[in-house]
């Protein structure tokens, strides 16, 4: 019972992290049916930049967050405007492969700037360093509260924007067919640019928020990004709350594997889950919307 509680709690905190990164993938998938694998690298950039600013330069935490988001958005903007728009033929599959190259480039730049060291931030203010739960006092990082809070706010905002605002309607239109959306007066290309900027900014912020619980180096973004992608795919890329459902499922699977079997096997389990979901339900575990397929 005690163990179950610890597994559930730590699993869901990780799940929210994966959900956040997954939302970044879903944002981009919303406007262009493709995957930007460089998003994982954006989380690493966000975390490393925040550590540099807060620890070494003594910058205010809020200001650091703003800078991280701005840098993330800039990366997204350059990706879309500077690279993808210059492609001679922009097919989803080619963008996917290209983003692999982008990920390598971003990772190498991060390696040049921050070398191979591990960085971490102190826990954000307002929450205890560690939270102890249950009879045996299982230890959980207090930062989890911030992570869950940030994820809750982001997903609520995303849900509201998508369902209630003109922007959300535009995005749904672009997602359906960019050319037709263009014909009814929506500037598709701007929405695409915006989605890339927002996606990368969100990924960078996710890296910023998790940096107190994870030690990040220039290459830790890859795995985090892949797990975010798996969260989004498992939950369904076109469902507004798909990433968070997938993320929680992923986090809990991982925690259960680590808690009841061996921690070493958790990555294998997660990737197997991905393939199983892709084969059985490519639209994600949630019921497919009419829009999705």
């Amino acid at each position: 019972m005690e163990k179950l509680l610890a597994v559930l709690l730590s699993g869901s905190v990780n799940g929210f992290v994966y959900g956040l990164v997954g939302l970044a993938f879903a944002l981009i998938y919303r406007v262009e049916k493709t995957i930007n694998l460089a998003l994982g690298e954006c989380t690493a950039i966000g975390a490393l930049l925040a550590c540099e600013l807060v620890v070494a330069r003594d910058v205010n935490l809020v200001l650091a967050g703003v800078v991280v988001a701005a840098v993330g958005a800039a990366i997204g903007g350059v990706t879309e405007f500077g690279v993808l728009r210059r492609m001679r033929s922009r097919e989803p599959l080619r963008v996917l492969i290209l983003s692999f190259g982008l990920a390598l480039v971003i990772q190498s730049i991060a390696k040049i700037i921050w070398s191979t060291d591990l960085y971490s931030l102190p826990t954000f203010p307002g929450v205890p360093e560690v939270v102890r739960v249950g009879y045996q006092r299982a230890v959980l990082p207090g930062q989890g509260i911030w992570i869950v809070g940030f994820a809750a706010v982001t997903f609520t905002a995303w849900g509201v924007v998508l369902a209630r605002t003109g922007l959300g309607r535009d995005l749904r239109a672009v997602s359906n067919d960019p050319t037709v959306a263009e014909a009814v007066g929506i500037r598709s290309s701007r929405r695409v640019l915006g989605a890339y900027a927002a996606g990368c900014a969100l990924a960078a912020l996710a890296g910023f928020v998790v940096s107190p619980v994870l030690f990040m180096s220039y290459q830790s973004g890859t795995l985090l990004g892949l797990k975010g992608l798996i969260a989004a795919l498992v939950g369904g890329l076109s469902r507004p709350f798909g990433p968070i459902v997938g993320g929680l499922l992923l986090g809990l699977t991982e925690a259960a594997t680590a808690g009841y079997y061996q921690a070493d096997w958790k990555d294998v389990t997660v990737f197997t889950l991905l393939i199983a979901v892709l084969v059985v339900r490519p639209q994600g575990v949630l019921r497919a919307t009419a829009e999705a397929r």
């Binding site: 049916k33 493709t34 995957i35 690279v83 210059r86 492609m87 001679r88 033929s89 097919e91 989803p92 599959l93 080619r94 996917l96 492969i97 290209l98 692999f100 190259g101 982008l102 990920a103 390598l104 480039v105 990772q107 190498s108 730049i109 390696k111 040049i112 890859t222 892949l226 992608l229 798996i230 795919l233 061996q262 070493d264 096997w265 990555d267 294998v268 990737f271 197997t272 991905l274 393939i275 892709l278 084969v279 490519p282």
Partner: protein, 340 residues
């Protein structure tokens, strides 16, 4: 007979080229260039040839090629290693059969997905492979890897660098000849047709699912053989051989080599591998170079980057068989698509 002669010519040419590369590199470039590096490039070129068939001809983005390199390398290292002590030839046979079995099952299941999800799923497969190698410490030695014995057949040990290179060069030449022939055969044309438009290929009577699975199996056999050779030549195997960076290097090589050109892939792989050795300072930034190359190529190249057009076979003295002209599976020369 004509075809046999031509194939032997291609094989001999490939062998000659590979030996020439060895001589040039070892004798001209001198000490810095370790002989093993050339030989290892040949082993990876085998996997690259497999990927050229899959990705270049069929346009199936298989991002799990390194999985099969790892499979070959580890099955060889474990079975032929001191613990089990199998004869190396048997170990290679076991590795290849294992890869055929795995590729058949995996191909059946994953090739049902459309191109996009196939890419993601094979990516996941590659990651599973690397992680399993890391986790199964008892068998694979985890991060530390394993030592692998050198190859020997019929009492002849391939133990000197030159002998090893002859072994790899010979395998590469045979593989090259096979792939060369395949690309110019009916199956090869079917593969091109599927790569161009799967629906249309199916409408023309090509069993696309079957053709894709067969190509996937062949491509993974290439990779597995490459993996066995890698293990036998380098003497060590590490989990990173099944890693993402190896797959990426191969993908970059295939695209840089002109997508469907076999010679191009091998040459591109040689170029990518020799750059950091010729210009030492960039060795540290090899990932950056791969990344920039990949991005630049995909930005610049048109949708179906076929730098060399597929030419119909030149008419020989014998008049073409009527069946060949009526068969709907005869792919027409692919028009080079206008850039959109």
């Amino acid at each position: 007979l004509n075809a046999t002669l031509r194939t032997s010519g291609v094989v001999a040419g490939a062998l000659l080229a590979s030996m020439l590369a060895y001589v040039v590199v070892v004798d001209v470039l001198g000490q810095r260039y370790n002989a093993t590096t050339v030989t290892l490039t040949g082993a990876f070129a085998l996997a690259g040839l497999g990927l050229t068939l899959m990705l270049g001809l069929m346009h199936q983005y298989n991002l799990g090629q390194a999985f099969f390199i790892g499979l070959g390398a580890y099955v060889y290292a474990v079975l032929a290693g001191s613990e089990h002590g199998w004869p190396p030839v048997l170990a290679v046979v076991a590795a290849v059969s294992a890869s055929v079995a795995v590729a058949l099952v995996v191909g059946r299941v994953l090739l049902r997905l459309d191109g996009f999800y196939f890419a993601v799923a094979t990516l996941g497969m590659g990651l599973i492979g690397e992680n399993v190698l890391l986790v199964l410490r008892d068998v694979t030695g985890g991060v530390d890897g394993l030592t692998a014995p050198e190859f020997e057949a019929l009492g002849f040990a391939f133990d000197t660098p030159l002998r090893q290179h002859v072994l790899v060069g010979g395998c590469l030449a045979i593989a090259f000849g096979t792939a060369w022939n395949l690309a110019r055969s009916r199956r090869g044309r079917a593969a091109r047709a599927i790569g161009h438009d799967e629906m249309m290929a199916a409408a023309n009577g090509i069993d696309a699912a079957r053709a894709k699975t067969q190509m996937f199996v062949l491509s993974s056999v290439y990779a597995t053989t490459g993996g066995c050779l890698y293990a036998a030549v380098s003497g060590y195997v590490f989990p990173s051989v099944a890693g993402l960076s190896v797959t990426l290097e191969l993908v970059v090589a295939v695209i840089l080599g002109g997508m469907s050109s076999l010679v191009g892939t091998v040459a591109a792989l040689g170029l990518l591998r020799s750059l950091p050795i010729v210009f030492e300072p960039i060795e540290e930034h090899i990932a950056l170079i791969h990344g920039i190359t990949l991005v630049a190529l995909l930005v610049v190249l048109p949708s179906r980057p076929q730098l060399r057009r597929w030419r119909p076979q030149r008419r020989r003295s014998r008049p073409p068989r009527p069946a060949a002209t009526t068969a709907a599976t005869e792919a027409r020369p692919e028009p080079i698509e206008a850039a959109s």
